[in-house]
């Protein structure tokens, strides 16, 4: 078959499989990124305002996750997490539940992402001028409103470059789920390549898809940063 026939969207072409894999990859990347941001926001606040015990525990979490290869974390969490959840359920006298590949993938990558976004967000929050927060406190603003109205909007500009990087890492880390047999883009690619023996064609095609995601995301995040930094002096924008 020619390259075009191999990549055709309808069978016997494998293009449709790649796109299905892509949909899975994006689903997991988005879910893991969201979960990571939630963990990261809580973690960053915990590291800055939490008690000493919480701070130390968070430090252990971020250090371990950032020093151990993602592949190994994924394997530990992928097998361990589902096993643990089921053991707890059985202890409680309930039935085992089935944890789908998508949920497990999101949970696993989310925990990894959470460690990185904790650090990114912590740095960004600390970069918010302290006077702004003091002023809001002096006005008697409650803590929740302070976070929503002052800290989070002001830190966004500082955080976006780091968060953009994390999103790119999230999209690429979904490829690691291929090793546990989850059919995302990379595994679909390997299946197509293995079956048709057209290794170059399919690996190149998948590379082009990942690259397109990266370039699109970079463009989007650049716009987002410009938006988040609106009203800031131009010097700050030029520094990056």
């Amino acid at each position: 078959m020619s390259t075009l026939e191999l990549l055709a969207l309808q069978p016997p072409g494998w293009g449709g499989n790649l796109l299905r894999g892509l949909a899975n990859s994006i689903q997991i990347a988005v879910g893991a990124y969201g979960l990571g941001l939630a963990i990261g926001t809580a973690g960053a606040y915990g590291k800055i305002y939490g008690g000493p015990v919480l701070r130390d525990l968070l430090e252990v979490y971020t250090t371990v996750v950032r020093a151990v290869p993602e592949l190994i974390l994924i394997l530990i969490l992928y097998f361990g997490l589902t096993d643990l959840v089921n053991q707890i359920l059985v202890e409680m006298g309930r039935d085992r539940i089935q944890i789908s590949g998508v949920i497990a993938g999101i949970a696993v990558l989310g925990v990894v992402q959470g460690a990185y976004s904790t650090e990114v967000l912590r740095g960004a929050i600390l970069a918010v001028p302290h006077g702004q927060i003091e002023a809001a406190r002096a006005m008697g603003m409650p803590a929740g409103m302070l976070a929503r109205r002052i800290t989070l909007p002001l830190m966004l500009g500082n955080a976006i470059p780091g968060l953009a990087n994390l999103w790119l890492i999230a999209t690429k880390d979904t490829a690691l789920l291929a090793v546990v047999g989850f059919s995302e883009l990379t595994l679909e690619t390997r299946q197509a390549a293995g079956t048709t023996k057209a290794y170059f064609t399919f690996f190149m095609a998948a590379g082009a898809i990942y690259l397109a995601i990266t370039l699109l995301s970079q463009w989007g995040f650049a716009r987002a940063e410009r938006w988040a930094r609106r009203g800031e002096p131009a010097v700050a924008a030029g520094a990056r």
Partner: protein, 257 residues
Amino acid sequence: MIAFLRPRHRQVLLVAGAALVAWCIHALDWSWLPAYWPLFLRGIWATVWLTALTTVLGLVLAIPLGFAQAAGPWFLAWPALAFCTIIRGTPLLLQIWLIYYGLGSLFPQFPWIRQSDLWPILRQAWPYAVLALTLSYAGYEGEVMRGAFKSVPRGQLEAARAMGMPRLTLFRRIWLPQALRKVLPTLSGETVLQMKATPLVATITVVETYAVASRVRQDTFIVYEPLLLLAVVYLAIAAVIVLVFRHFERMVPTRTA
């Protein structure tokens, strides 16, 4: 160290941590460890040399890649930028498979490759692992080097030029050393990232630490213990990398001052 241990909660946490480790040693199944320990040592050695070699080679490649983007003419800057973008924009696992299986699928079409003197090396897996990891490191570090070359103050370069310094000397004495010093603090983190990428080459039959742990898992069907040991081994290697670089960072200013 003593200051670190002074708060009461740290002592409690340490005791809790020690109890957890003790429980892991006691309650989990480590009976396989003596039989596989020699294999593990060989795997760890492979991880270490893969990390070290590809970091050094990658850095050597990153210097021209960064320089071309920072100060090169467009016909050098443009390919360098494209290379860095492609490497940074695609998963390493895919790159490794492309290099190993993609190149492998070409061999039958070009029989002279198998007749060449290089074949005994080319048929092994590690050259492809080294190539893939080196290119990856060069892609990421090239981007960092670009920023470093750009951040060297123009005045320094102009002054050197005004003194009539030849271009090569200027690069060697002024531009490169200053850029490298800028990069040094990021190197430790980048090297840890590179170390964390090495388990991926186990998928192309290179036997390193992760491959040994998978082997244990497959031979004995014990799942968690080898993975836990792996996590500890990689944590230890990461700690050593950070300490070594901290040592270097302390040395550098005194030598150049």
